[in-house]
Symmetry: D2
Subunit: 386 residues, 4 copies
Amino acid sequence: MTELAAAKAALKTQAVETPSWAYGNSGTRFKVFAQQGVPRTPFEKLDDAAKVHEFTGVAPTVALHIPWDKVDDYAALAKHAEQRGVKLGAINSNTFQDDDYKLGSICHPEASVRRKAVDHLLECVDIMDATGSTDLKLWFADGTNYPGQDDIRGRQDRLAEGLAEVYERLGDGQRMLLEYKFFEPAFYTTDVPDWGTAYAHCLKLGPKAQVVVDTGHHAPGTNIEFIVATLLREEKLGGFDFNSRFYADDDLMVGAADPFQLFRIMYEVIRGGGFSPEVAFMLDQCHNIEAKIPAIIRSVMNVQEATAKALLVDGDVLAAAQRAGDVLEANAVVMDAYNTDVRPLLREVREEMGLDPDPIAAYRGSGWAERIVAERVGGQQAGWGA
Amino acid sequence: MTELAAAKAALKTQAVETPSWAYGNSGTRFKVFAQQGVPRTPFEKLDDAAKVHEFTGVAPTVALHIPWDKVDDYAALAKHAEQRGVKLGAINSNTFQDDDYKLGSICHPEASVRRKAVDHLLECVDIMDATGSTDLKLWFADGTNYPGQDDIRGRQDRLAEGLAEVYERLGDGQRMLLEYKFFEPAFYTTDVPDWGTAYAHCLKLGPKAQVVVDTGHHAPGTNIEFIVATLLREEKLGGFDFNSRFYADDDLMVGAADPFQLFRIMYEVIRGGGFSPEVAFMLDQCHNIEAKIPAIIRSVMNVQEATAKALLVDGDVLAAAQRAGDVLEANAVVMDAYNTDVRPLLREVREEMGLDPDPIAAYRGSGWAERIVAERVGGQQAGWGA
Amino acid sequence: MTELAAAKAALKTQAVETPSWAYGNSGTRFKVFAQQGVPRTPFEKLDDAAKVHEFTGVAPTVALHIPWDKVDDYAALAKHAEQRGVKLGAINSNTFQDDDYKLGSICHPEASVRRKAVDHLLECVDIMDATGSTDLKLWFADGTNYPGQDDIRGRQDRLAEGLAEVYERLGDGQRMLLEYKFFEPAFYTTDVPDWGTAYAHCLKLGPKAQVVVDTGHHAPGTNIEFIVATLLREEKLGGFDFNSRFYADDDLMVGAADPFQLFRIMYEVIRGGGFSPEVAFMLDQCHNIEAKIPAIIRSVMNVQEATAKALLVDGDVLAAAQRAGDVLEANAVVMDAYNTDVRPLLREVREEMGLDPDPIAAYRGSGWAERIVAERVGGQQAGWGA
Amino acid sequence: MTELAAAKAALKTQAVETPSWAYGNSGTRFKVFAQQGVPRTPFEKLDDAAKVHEFTGVAPTVALHIPWDKVDDYAALAKHAEQRGVKLGAINSNTFQDDDYKLGSICHPEASVRRKAVDHLLECVDIMDATGSTDLKLWFADGTNYPGQDDIRGRQDRLAEGLAEVYERLGDGQRMLLEYKFFEPAFYTTDVPDWGTAYAHCLKLGPKAQVVVDTGHHAPGTNIEFIVATLLREEKLGGFDFNSRFYADDDLMVGAADPFQLFRIMYEVIRGGGFSPEVAFMLDQCHNIEAKIPAIIRSVMNVQEATAKALLVDGDVLAAAQRAGDVLEANAVVMDAYNTDVRPLLREVREEMGLDPDPIAAYRGSGWAERIVAERVGGQQAGWGA
């Protein structure tokens, strides 16, 4: 098989999980601008997610958020998904929107609040059992706003204790993905602020605990691809939350702010053996001002383009230049792949997959946008607080 | 008059304006944690603000936010304030919470939205006429999230045009304070992102337009006191929005994150002749998890402490060390003032002003916190969206 | 003329000035790694610069640095350049490497040091007279390391006074380009730290004073293209110092760290009418570990590629999408240009200019690298301290 | 014993190691400003370091840097130190100033360079045997400047292999302290860029490998005290390199840029049981423009002041407020300690230790500064390259 053929084959196997919440309304602390046609139920979110998969062919699963996507019958939800051609993916916990969580959840100074938070996580594993999801994704908003507010080390002890209880509950084939975040909503300390902290906890928990890299959750200037390479080397990279940023956790469309960085990340993923089902590639974005479904389609395409370019890096030539200490040539090999216009290649891939080569145009031509605006009238639009 | 006496005299004249919105609920994009006893009307906000002034003696005015503080009768509002010992201060415009403003307000691509935004600003001047406020404070959430979304330069032209119309409307003794912000809620471009942009616009508008420095609105590492010194030198410093930050626009209590920075800022204020009624010292903070009124009292005290330390810098000794190029000695003079515990001095100042030397304890002992929790039942708590 | 033809025509007129010092040794504070074949005289630097122009066709001028490039006979130097097909460009002053400048130059607390610094700047204008250079490029390392070390405002006064004297000395057709820098080598205050400060000084000086944007001289996250658009709108953009950075003022090859940013900058240049001889496009880089001449060739090519992509943005379609408030479409128009592989286009441009389509390969095949290694033996290699 | 007495007792046991290189010349990449009286030999550096200990009483050891402090007879050097009242401390390796190290040392693509680097580290352990030093401090300048330049993961493998060989060489009572650094002198990847990477390597190496926190080696906004608390909890905190920064690795005097941060760090040190001989407290600073010996004295005093304040935090009251979720009160307890002027307490401590209460004045009055200027004439001043 030629290299190009290998790249195409790999691209056809790619899977990008889309998050149910990205189909609902989101915004900043200043304002949530509601959009027309936004889903009102988890079922409608799945309908939208299915459209993304229908037109891209590489978005076969949908992450859920509990309690935002709480339903009485998860089997029915899973069946609904399958009928539309997608599956349920990771279960995301939410321990940040209840009044009890004002000072934290799993790290809260009060045992009763910690109990409530851990119980929620255990419930999420129950839901995984019901949906067949294999990944429990944990992001904790826990932290403090002021020096002295709470005991930094005590909070770590509480975190470790809570995670251990949840870890024990995981069944065969289930795992825990621990996300870190530099800051927000806490503004002084965050209890899992960096990959090192997440790694240290996962290491102690065991092989079912792995780290999630959210591309928007780092200090300015952080070299994310280095972290990816390191976590893969440590066999602790569980997955990605993709999005992009110019400033903080902006949650813009992945690839929109720094497409070269996304390419470098995907290169390290492939280099380190992470382009596999063991690593979950998920979107975690906010479409505050742009149309949501096409923005998600565009995001999936951006991941595809970065992946295609990364697949085109000529590894042998690169390795030779690196061994020779030829800085310019080694850099040129990488840039040569990056500067390639891979859109024709991806159009071919899509056609070979029986898809329209232009997913955005195909979606726009499908009438779906108009239909949901017309049909989704009344009810309560989904949003972060819904 | 001794230097200490001069410092005490200056501290007694200090005025820190508190913002009506800080008494209401606030939060992050993830969650607003409501607190008990929060005001439900602009009148109740003034009641709380009056308590801050009652116990600190240096918070005589209250900034309003339109439309959050819209009332039918501003004269009644002003009278209510005066009856409680405070006055109405700056009028803050809000052009970011209407659905029309999704893509901007005064910089919006559509003329009709710009018209609406400018009309709101003109209405704010009407309210200034009614309240006797002299300062129109303008913060624009305008910007873009994605490269290409709008024309950067075209937006500047629209901004200039809109500001010019509002400037013309200002009466004698009224001025326009233009605030800049590094980012948020826009995540790619912000239309007034730095002091340079605000300065350039104010310069063209004329002497009634001045720049506001919000201490949380800068890129990481920015030397804010340099900006303060420069704006004072250019006679374009209109005022401050005080708060503090570890990461982005965290809006923590002023002086909580970097008290040394606050001291350096106040030193440049005094050095540059800015400790005068010409410069407005305002708080602009969010008390998301801490009790609001005592947090504001503490913030006012933090400003007092930084000011007291700045007043204690021995200018003659400092100047001599600077002239001599004695880096360590010059730094030591400044640090000597900073390392002084000025709390005893401020207790004296308060006692001489007829106040309790410990404002926090006095507030706690006053029963106000318990009273508002008991009385403010029912109704709609004030918040950013109220 | 078609759009493509217009783009090609524009690309043929492009001019990127290379700096004499980039051909010499450079390094970090930890170590300067000397390279073989490095020039030992300003004449040899011009020989190397001529090679860059020979193979790229768009690097016709060379910036000098005084005193690094001090010679007895500037007419001879200019003639040497012309014989090799290039011209002398901007004169860069150096007021940071004399022991007297430990605490500053033009802002120094002592008048005698300021006098010396200003005299050096005046001497640079004399050299401009001799070389025919039109641009005096001023970068000041002035600043302080410790709070209190010197008077922030007093230093601004001294700066203004010194610049005014130099400004007066400028002849017809000469101008002053004032560069700003966020930090380094000063670590607390820098006397021209941001575009606002440079702009304010240039505004007061007059039309012959303009601002230089060094792409590595900003706080993390700063939107440089916004500054470019703003300075063009204010008619105060004098030129660029191109390089790239991941962290601080890394001085890597332009386009190496964030090629998308370089594209956005060039888009605003073109949009704002800055793609003209009025704006100087200069490189200012350090090739600490990579071969210098090919690195500079690559840098010139990177600027060309970014420019080509920016020229390909379909302005009409973009403007329509912006007017319609179609965020995704407007962004897509820009990304469509960025994602285009412009290397074939640039190969055509080069062939039409009578050049080898692959400048790097042509340089490597020319034998120049081997020749300078063989010939430049003995003597003192050029470097920042030379 | 009262709390104050306990604090005084603790302060008397404090030990801050000063680095031999801080007594020599240093600078930025732009210029090293030489100072008069700078040591010319390791012996003279020890003479200066002894003065710092003589006047502060808490700087009993001196870190060496190899090869900067290479001597023929380390026993003689150790004896020289002891005769002046100090001891030799950590041995710092240097694998960044030989031409072979242009592309790295222990991570270099070529095995021969890695061999040379590891041999140097092994030689440093030999020197430890000779000097009786227990700590081998490792900072690697290794990294890359350009994407693709080398294989990120391959470099980690090489790093692990090299460290393992050195680890095996460590004798009883000897340990390895691994330092991380965000960036510089490498500008794209750094091979040990964060605490997580250092921690992961130390964990695999074993109990004799521990992490060093250099307070200037973090991304903007990083919460260093969180890292301190976490490393202490993991029993992997080996020591500190103290200095301070406003921007990058500015290497200013510790406590000069953000004294509140230094206090918070010392609070977590004490809280986590790190105020013990197991954790090394070292300075690592550059005194580029200020007089070196008094700057180091001042730095030691700054550490003392931060420690004193941290010791004064009322742990019981704090814990109660934290348990009660009283954010303002908990913060107030911490701020109360920070706002205390501890200089009188430290003057008492010094007097009880038989020292002058004002170390700076005592040093200035000692005539040492004048003496070294007069005596240290001729020879080669020590510097980073010496």
